[in-house]
Amino acid sequence: MPRFPAPRGHLRLVVEPSSHAGGVLSSVVAALGDDQLVALMRQGDAVAFETLYRRHAAFAINLAVRIQGNACDVEDIVHDAFLKAAQRTHALRDPGAFRPWLGSIVVRLVKTRLRRARLVNVFRIGPSQRAAAEVLDIDTLVSSDAGPEARAELFQVYTALLELPADERIAWTLRYVEHHDLQGVSQLAECSLATAKRRISRAQHHLLAKYRGPKNAASPTVECVTRIEEAAAEDDPEEPSQS
């Protein structure tokens, strides 16, 4: 039974979900729009919250993974995002805009992590000990149906993205990976439209300078192995050669 707290600190249990009536009600609730669900959620309706969660959880997870470039702690981020959303429902002006609002919470949490990771890397202990949020995991990003060339291209793009400041990286990912329009980018990134344009423009410039094209793309596997070998060599520089 969901035990979701109401914003005012009390819990209003609508129905027992396992009962027949609960099942019927759940299906009725599932047919409601986001604005109606948010209204119910504000009254402490646990079923409404669960419905909203199940409707938008995949969006939130994918958003976090695609901005970060890996799935590290993404479940924590999404968990925190929904918890914040639950606690601050009253701050949502347009109940119908729950999805972009949730997205902006996810983006803010990911940005905080990226900035923290960058700070850790500034004072980092060694190249092999990069903060987890700064590591690219191409297998988490790319579908298994994608061909090797597409994987190599995405690997190149994401490798270049990792070099960008968090704000620019987020803006570009929202625009070209998540395919939001500029208004959507500015809404999710919580900045003005002009600022969103500037950030995308800077990121695009950087990526164009770094991208070598599909023909010159090295295999991601080969590059990963090379990096791992380099990191291992730097970890243990005095290890005698086996030869």
Partner: protein
């Protein structure tokens, strides 16, 4: 030639929001929800942590940025007061015994920044007094502005509070100083502030500066696009066409590349340059064969249209762009041409 970035199709991306992950998070949410009820009030430990973080940041800032201090002195004090007349100083400033000699690090730094170390000891010897004229106030503050942290007006502009940003710009020396010293990124933010507060002339000035002096910067394509929009709105199709063409050159795969060609075409049609418009339409058709605008544009091209009087004679556009006899007037052309280099 630069490679075109691949289009990242959603079908290429894995769906990370699998049912198992969704269920795991939901389990946690169910378990954590009761705890969240008790964690909403002000928390003493978080305040203590924030204070400790602030203190650490302050300490790090002070210790890591010691070398920045001399430039701050240059900004704060007028040059005339920092640098006494050399003759008078030569007579009245004997090197005190035990004072730091001329070749030491502090004295070299003082000489490099053109300031005395402090006013109390007059430690500078003859060698430092003969350093060429110190930098003037505006130049010194210019370097400090461009190298310093993000100013308040920029922060406000990023938040979209342009009226407050304009006020902050005025407090920090005004637009003229900003235009003279800002980087491309800040100039573009200044453009946003100027446009949002109705100062189109300032916005055009800033855009031209970006295209003229920062043509290789990431901001240049956006500057060309914005300039085209503004000139078009101001009734200068010639200047607008040149700016849109500039955008295409700077960012052939940019977000607005297709739109830029269309806008350029429309501008050419407006000013009655049908031959040039047809030539451009052909290359547009080849480059964007699936464009929804093709039919509409070809219809426009088939309709004979007299040149717009304003376009042919050079509509005056504040504060100076325009066209003369179908050619881009120097005021508008120079920055655009310069940007092409």
């Amino acid at each position: 030639m630069k490679s075109q970035l691949p289009r990242i199709d959603r079908s290429l991306l894995k769906n990370a929001g699998a049912q198992a992950a969704v269920e795991r998070i939901w389990q946690r949410l169910e378990n954590d929800a009761p705890l969240a009820r008790y964690s909403r009030g002000p928390r003493v430990w978080s305040i203590a942590l924030a204070s400790a973080t602030f203190a650490t940041g302050l300490w790090l800032g002070v210790h890591l940025n010691k070398q920045e201090i001399p430039s701050a002195q240059v900004v704060a004090e007028p040059a005339s007061r920092l640098w006494p007349v050399s003759g008078a100083v030569k007579e009245s400033a004997p090197v005190a015994p035990g004072d730091r000699p001329a070749g030491t690090r502090g004295a070299k730094r003082a000489a490099a920044f053109g300031v005395s170390k402090t006013s109390r000891s007059l430690p500078l010897g003859r060698e430092q007094m003969e350093v060429p004229e110190p930098s003037t106030g505006p130049t010194a503050s210019a370097s400090a502005t461009s190298l310093g942290a993000s100013p308040e007006w920029m922060r406000l502009a990023n938040l979209g509070d342009y009226v407050s940003a304009l006020r902050a710009v005025e407090e920090e020396g005004g637009f003229d100083q900003l235009l003279a010293t800002a980087t491309a990124d800040r100039l573009m933010a200044a453009v946003d502030v100027a446009r949002a507060t109705g100062q189109k002339g300032r916005a055009l000035q800033a855009l031209r500066k970006v295209l003229g002096e920062f043509s290789g910067s990431p901001e240049a394509p956006l500057a060309a696009w914005t300039l085209g929009n503004m000139l078009e709105q101001a009734g200068d199709p010639v200047g607008a066409a040149a700016a849109f063409a500039q955008y295409q050159r700077l960012s052939p795969q940019g977000d607005f590349a297709e739109d830029a060609v269309v806008r350029q075409l429309e501008a050419l049609i407006t000013k009655g340059q049908a031959d040039e418009a047809r030539r451009l339409a052909k290359s547009y058709e080849a480059e964007f064969p699936e464009s929804l605008r093709l039919r509409e544009l070809s219809e426009q091209l088939q309709q004979p249209r007299a040149p717009t009087p304003g376009a042919a004679s050079g509509a005056p556009v504040e504060p100076g762009p325009g066209s003369v006899g179908g050619q881009v007037a120097p005021a508008a052309a120079v920055p655009v041409e310069a940007a092409a280099r």
